[in-house]
């Protein structure tokens, strides 16, 4: 009986003593943390994807609170609605940023780009890229081994088993940029989602000369600059035998899509063209 009493009493005394010490220590060494950081963090999507450029949502919240303006700070997952909430908490203003989405700039499917050799190594793009230029004649295109798929936390990008080219699920993609970093061929780009998700982009990264590109892939950009000449908005530049459409200047007129001889310019989510244009195309 005595033994139990002694041990209980000892524990109580030790506990009380520790509580008192801890109380004073916590007062003495108290670090003031802006309570708004917690609020901002609660407003963020808690994906901790790193898409904003900060390691985790809390660090992004911290940066938001400390920053004078919210320019350049964007949570790609939450987009403008989240940033508006953050701005409300902090009493700052935010400029609505156009939502972006990942696009894969390669159309070298098995049909378009015949496989010339068989890769027998480890199933990782980065290792294959380290070894050689790939299974096809194109040294710029997609290797199809799915590093982007592995890197995506949101289940938004998948390699199509038939075409061996990754496809982005627009509804799930938060444009966090993980796949952009994962792709050793630098094929994935974050582009403006566009009105009604309508987008036009050059789906090729080949900087080889035209004949070489054409030989390796049916739908590669050969740098013929037809699109550059036809574009009324100066949105297209040609560099190193490759066309690039700047999404901030592009007005989605689709003229470049019509003139592209190799169909390497892709239009997404547009309504089907009028029959009339098709007829004129046939006549011409």
């Amino acid at each position: 009986m005595n033994l139990i009493l002694v041990s209980i009493l000892t524990l109580v005394v030790v506990g009380a003593l520790a509580a008192v010490i801890l109380f004073f220590v916590s007062k003495k060494f108290h670090v003031f943390e802006d309570p708004r950081i917690d609020e901002v963090e609660a407003a963020l999507p808690a994906a901790n994807c790193g898409g904003c450029g900060f390691p985790g949502c809390r660090n992004f919240a911290n940066a938001c609170v400390k920053a004078d303006t919210l320019d350049g700070l964007l949570c790609p997952v939450g987009g403008t609605p989240t940033m508006e909430k953050v701005a409300e908490i902090l009493g700052k203003t935010v400029v609505a940023a156009a939502p972006t989405v990942a696009v894969v700039r390669c159309s070298g499917t098995c049909d378009n780009r015949p496989r010339k050799n068989k890769y027998d190594g480890v199933n990782h793009c980065f290792i294959a890229h380290n070894l050689y230029s790939g299974e096809t004649g194109c040294s710029w295109g997609c290797l199809g081994l799915g590093d982007c798929e592995l890197s995506c936390q949101f289940d938004a990008i998948h390699v199509n088993p038939v075409t061996m080219i990754p496809e982005v699920d627009e509804d799930k993609c938060t444009s966090c940029g993980a796949c952009v970093k994962a792709c050793p061929k630098m094929l994935i780009e974050l582009r403006k989602k566009g009105p009604k998700s309508r987008r036009i982009y050059v789906s090729c990264r080949s900087q080889d000369k035209g004949p070489i590109t054409k030989k390796a892939c049916e739908v590669g950009c050969i740098g013929c600059s037809k699109c550059f000449k036809v574009c009324p908005h100066d949105a297209i530049t040609i560099e190193n035998n490759l066309a690039f459409i700047h999404d901030d200047k592009c007005k989605l007129c689709r003229k470049c899509v019509e003139v592209c001889p190799t169909n390497s310019i892709i239009e997404l989510n547009f309504p089907p063209r009028k029959v009339k244009t098709e007829e004129t195309a046939v006549e011409a």
Binding site: V122, N130, Y132, I212
Partner: protein, 445 residues
């Protein structure tokens, strides 16, 4: 018998082309001479389209200190300067020349007589070696003149000649030693003069007994040259391994062989030095081995640079029907080629046909922690650990585990009972860590 202290393996030797006389390959119709080497900055083209060039004429000028000159290997008209898929699997700059006759520069001495006397000074020899565009012919293609000019404050004591040819299948160095023994010996004495050393050790693996006998006989006529027979062990041809095996000195981690007073040159390089200094002949041809278990006609061929490998292979009996993989170089360090339409480069030591069943990778299984890879690693690393860290992108840990010491010999992958792709992951980690280190140094300076 001597060998290196740590690790090593002994794969089946399969030297089918041993004893085959060096045949001169036919002149091709067109060559594509690569301007880039495996190591160093690519050379800068000094000819233009339409120029008429002679054999041995300079067509690419070295671009920087670690870079080498490139010379025309044929005579004819420059067709174009364009990109060409080379053995690295990437398209790189090359000079295309349409062959017209075989007209050599007048300065090149084409006689077969051996010239023993060399009255040039140290500087003159190094200058000649640099002008001739000589690179290490063992495979790494490191410019030879860089090795011959040690950094200030460092002094070479011993010249080590790499005549081990530890790669299975390959026999080009072996055959070169048998046919050009005296020339190589003169080359060694020239290199000794250039380095100002009075001791040279030729390391030859014990599976080349005829070459050892020949060299021991020749060594009596040349002062300071020793010939050492070494136990057959892969990767004895690695610079650090060879220094350990031949002269018993260990190069510290991250240091160059000059730290222990050694300079290593390949036997093929030594022959090229002889030709450059005594015969004024720049490096534009080399001996390569065409071999394989089912190759109809395995042999050693003297090939001009820039010749398409497919043309050489056709002369050697073509690609065997049961080929599953074609490897440029030896089976251990070589890279598989995706096409034979790649030009012969200074580092191409061979073409190897691997049979269908042998060429396929086996299914990768989990690591059973047997430690065989640790046992065989010639650099004393822990390959299983490095692979795991590379998979998890733990670059800082890889750096502290000395991934940069890896010589990519592939002994770990060869020995792994679980068929793990150790080298692939380590090589990736090594290139990433190397990039991190370089950017760190750039930021510092």
């Amino acid at each position: 018998m001597r060998t290196f202290r740590i690790g090593g393996i002994h794969p089946a030797e399969n030297k089918f082309s041993a004893g085959q006389k060096i045949k001169t390959a036919n002149l091709p119709k067109q060559v594509a001479i690569p301007l880039a080497h495996y190591i160093g900055a690519p050379a800068e083209a000094v000819v233009a389209k339409g120029d008429i060039v002679k054999v041995g004429q300079l067509i690419g000028k070295a671009n920087g200190f670690i870079s080498a000159n490139v010379h025309a290997s044929v005579s004819g008209k420059v067709n174009k300067i364009d990109v060409q898929l080379d053995a690295s699997g990437y398209k790189r700059a090359a000079v295309f020349i349409d062959v017209d006759g075989d007209e050599w520069l007048e300065t090149i001495d084409r006689t077969q007589t051996v010239v023993r006397e060399c009255n040039l000074t140290k500087e003159e020899i190094i200058k000649k070696v640099a002008e001739a565009g000589i690179v290490g012919l063992g495979g790494a293609t490191f410019p030879a003149h860089v090795k011959l000019s040690p950094p200030p404050g460092k002094k070479a004591e011993v010249l080590v000649i790499n005549a081990v040819e530890c790669e299975p299948y390959l026999t080009c160095d072996h055959q070169l030693m048998l046919e050009k023994g005296e020339e190589i010996m003169v080359g060694i004495s020239i290199l000794m003069k250039a380095l100002d050393v009075n001791r040279a050790v030729v390391g030859i693996e014990n599976n080349k007994k005829d070459a050892i006998a020949l060299f021991q006989k020749l060594a009596k006529e040349f002062k300071g040259v020793e010939v050492t027979a070494l136990k057959v062990q892969y990767p004895q041809g690695g610079e650090k391994q060879l220094i350990d095996a031949a002269i018993g000195r260990q190069v510290p981690s991250g240091a160059l062989p000059i730290e222990v007073g050694a300079v290593v040159q390949n036997v093929g390089t030594t022959f090229a030095v002889y030709e450059a200094v005594q015969k004024n002949k720049p490096l534009f041809e080399r001996v390569m081995t065409i071999t394989g278990k089912s190759a109809t006609n395995p042999g050693n061929y003297l090939v001009r640079l820039g010749t398409m490998l497919s043309e050489v292979v056709d002369q050697a009996g073509g690609v065997p029907a049961d080929t599953g993989k074609i490897v440029g170089g030896g089976p251990m360090m070589g890279r598989s080629l995706m096409t034979l339409d790649v030009p012969m480069a200074k580092g191409s030591a061979g073409v190897l046909f691997i049979q269908n069943m042998e060429s396929l990778r086996k299914k990768m299984q989990t690591c059973i922690r047997c430690g065989k890879c640790v046992n065989v690693c010639p650099m004393g690393l822990e390959p299983y650990l490095l692979m795991n860290q590379s998979e998890r992108e733990m670059w800082a840990d890889m750096e502290s585990n000395k991934v940069m010491d890896c010589i990519e010999c592939g002994s770990c992958s060869y020995t792994c009972p679980s068929n793990r792709a150790l080298l692939d992951y380590i090589r990736f980690g090594k290139s990433t860590v190397g990039g991190i280190i370089r950017s760190r140094q750039a930021r510092k300076s």
